[in-house]
């Protein structure tokens, strides 16, 4: 789990009870939007916006470990982000998730470090 240490920031997205099983919740953080899923076997997270057109996946439908976009019913595999059904054809970015007590945390790239480096002239 080395990848989790240096370049990942863990952010509390919601509480465990905020999401029903087989459902999805929107989480906005620092100008970006994510979708947090609860499946029978645990929590997952991905980018919030569909890779096809402008629709938020948290408005979509969770079925059999897949998220179906609310606009055109394209489907992604929730765990891998792989596009499964047209019209979606671009992979959905996924993020690691861990549960700490009653909180669901998602692991985001530590962009702050990059920004700081950019600004350090």
């Amino acid at each position: 789990m080395a990848a989790d240490t240096d370049n990942t920031t863990w952010v509390v997205a919601c509480a465990v009870d905020d999401i029903d099983e087989e459902d999805v919740l929107r989480f906005d953080h620092e100008g970006a939007s994510y979708a947090v899923y609860r499946l029978a076997k645990g929590f997952h997270a991905s980018d919030g916006w569909c890779t096809h057109e402008q629709a938020h996946l948290a408005d979509g439908f969770v079925v059999n470990g897949e998220i179906e976009c609310p606009l055109h019913q394209g489907r992604f595999d929730i765990v891998s982000g792989k596009p499964l059904s047209p019209p979606v054809c671009v992979k959905l970015k996924t993020y690691p998730v861990r549960v700490d007590g009653r909180s669901v945390l998602i692991g985001l790239p530590a962009a702050g470090a990059i920004d700081a480096a950019k600004g350090a002239t």
Binding site: E53, A55, H56, D59, F61, P70, L71, Q73, P86
Partner: protein, 417 residues
């Protein structure tokens, strides 16, 4: 079918349905030849963006391609984009092409789609009068949508309304002419159509009902329309969206049964056991609605492709997907599940300040359709769950459907018992 099985899987029609079937044949393990015969001069492409992204100039034709060249090469799909199919020889099981050439088939899929109806009036072939089905159609319309141009749209169906929404966004003056008393007559309840038309009017589209086009005016190019109420509508271009007819000529000439499209059974097979039809071109008996239907939409082409590919491989699967359709106009979306027109009772659920979903129940109280209009985020869940309930032929209490606080998803669990 004991005779030696040889020849390729041959698909006539290289649109959405044909191309997806080719892919699905490979996905299902077919390793023999696949021949995909198109006549549009272009590799298969996605049609929905033609009335929206392409007309708005936000999407290029290249971006609409379903697959890149490598896909056809890697999957050994013999794609021919300029094929002229002259006939189907059912005795020899071959498709006759021009110049004495032919392709033998093991199974044949006819996925020739549908063609737009033209106005049956004088002047209908003048320059500046368009239909919208293909990439060349879309590109010729793009050239007309300059700011200030007066665009007449004939037909307040989905294509007409989507073109109207796009043309207004490009700064055109837009008038929609519809012969019926309201928009979207075949597709959705009057109240859904009215809601959408109201939005069009707010955005500056003029919509006129119960009036027909008697003549297209102009000498070499359209200059206006003479209408059945005696009025003359001046315009710079016309887009006609008055429906489509299935392209059945090839099948009819070969003696294949036709009934509002090529008549197939619930496995999408025609009366010839070696020949299938799918997509817009076919009518099929739907077990959920207990009648023969024909659908003209992207999702149906997509869903048919997956099933027909398996049945060409003799899986014998019944097609029973619940119809599902969308249309995006301005910031609104319409979604339709099932067949709202088959309902006898309608129940409305207010799902948001500017969003509603209508449920259609048949005489036995079984949910047969749902149509939502408004924000996708406020209607899609209800329509999606309705789609599941329709698939189960569920009887749902109208009061539950109307109650916004009643969670529809819980009905799925109850129904699953």
């Amino acid at each position: 079918m004991k005779t030696a099985e040889r020849g390729a899987m041959v698909i006539v029609g290289a649109g959405q349905c044909g191309a997806r079937t080719a892919q699905a044949l490979r996905d299902n393990g077919w390793e023999g030849d696949i021949t995909l015969l198109g006549n549009e001069g272009l590799a298969p492409y996605d049609r929905p963006p033609l009335s929206k992204g392409v007309l708005l100039g936000q999407k290029t034709v290249t971006q609409c391609a379903l697959y890149d060249d490598a896909f056809y090469r890697d999957n050994r799909i013999d794609l021919r984009v300029d094929a002229q199919v002259a006939a189907i020889d059912r005795v020899e099981r071959r498709v006759v092409l021009g110049e004495g050439r032919s392709v033998s088939y093991r199974r044949l899929l006819i996925a020739t789609g549908a063609q737009p109806r033209r106005l049956p009036v004088p002047g209908a072939t003048l320059a500046g009068v368009h239909v919208l089905r293909s990439v060349p159609d879309a590109l010729s319309i793009v050239g007309e949508l300059a700011p200030g141009q007066r665009i007449a749209v004939v037909g307040a169906g989905f294509i007409g309304l989507e073109v109207a929404a796009t043309a207004i966004a490009r700064g055109c003056e837009v008038v929609v002419i519809e012969a019926a008393s309201r928009a979207l007559m075949r597709a959705v309840p009057e109240i859904v159509a009215g809601y959408l038309v109201e939005r069009h009017r707010q955005m500056g589209v003029e919509v006129r009902f119960a009036v027909q086009v008697d003549q297209v005016l102009g000498s070499t190019r359209v200059s206006g329309l003479r209408l059945s109420d005696g009025a003359t509508l001046e315009c710079d271009a016309v887009v006609v969206g008055i429906g489509v007819t299935p392209r059945t000529a090839l099948a009819e000439a070969a003696g294949i049964d036709v009934a509002d499209g090529i008549a197939v059974d619930d496995t999408l097979r025609t009366n010839d056991p070696y020949i299938f039809a799918a997509g817009d071109v076919c009518s099929f008996p739907h077990r959920l609605f207990r009648r023969r239907i024909r659908l003209e939409c992207w999702k149906n082409a997509e869903d048919h492709a997956r099933v027909v590919a398996r049945n060409m491989l003799e899986y014998g699967e019944t097609y029973s997907a619940v119809p599902w359709f969308w249309s995006d106009q301005f910031d609104m979306t319409i979604q339709i599940a099932g067949m709202p027109a088959f309902g006898t009772t309608s129940v409305v659920r207010e799902t948001g300040s500017a969003s509603k979903v209508f449920f259609a129940l048949d005489g036995d109280g079984i949910l047969v359709g749902a149509s939502g209009v408004g924000q996708a985020s406020e209607i899609s869940r209800e329509v999606r769950i309705a789609q599941e309930l329709i698939a189960r032929r569920a009887r749902v209490e109208p009061a539950v459907l109307a109650d916004r606080s009643a969670k529809l998803k819980s009905l799925l669990t109850a129904e699953a018992l």
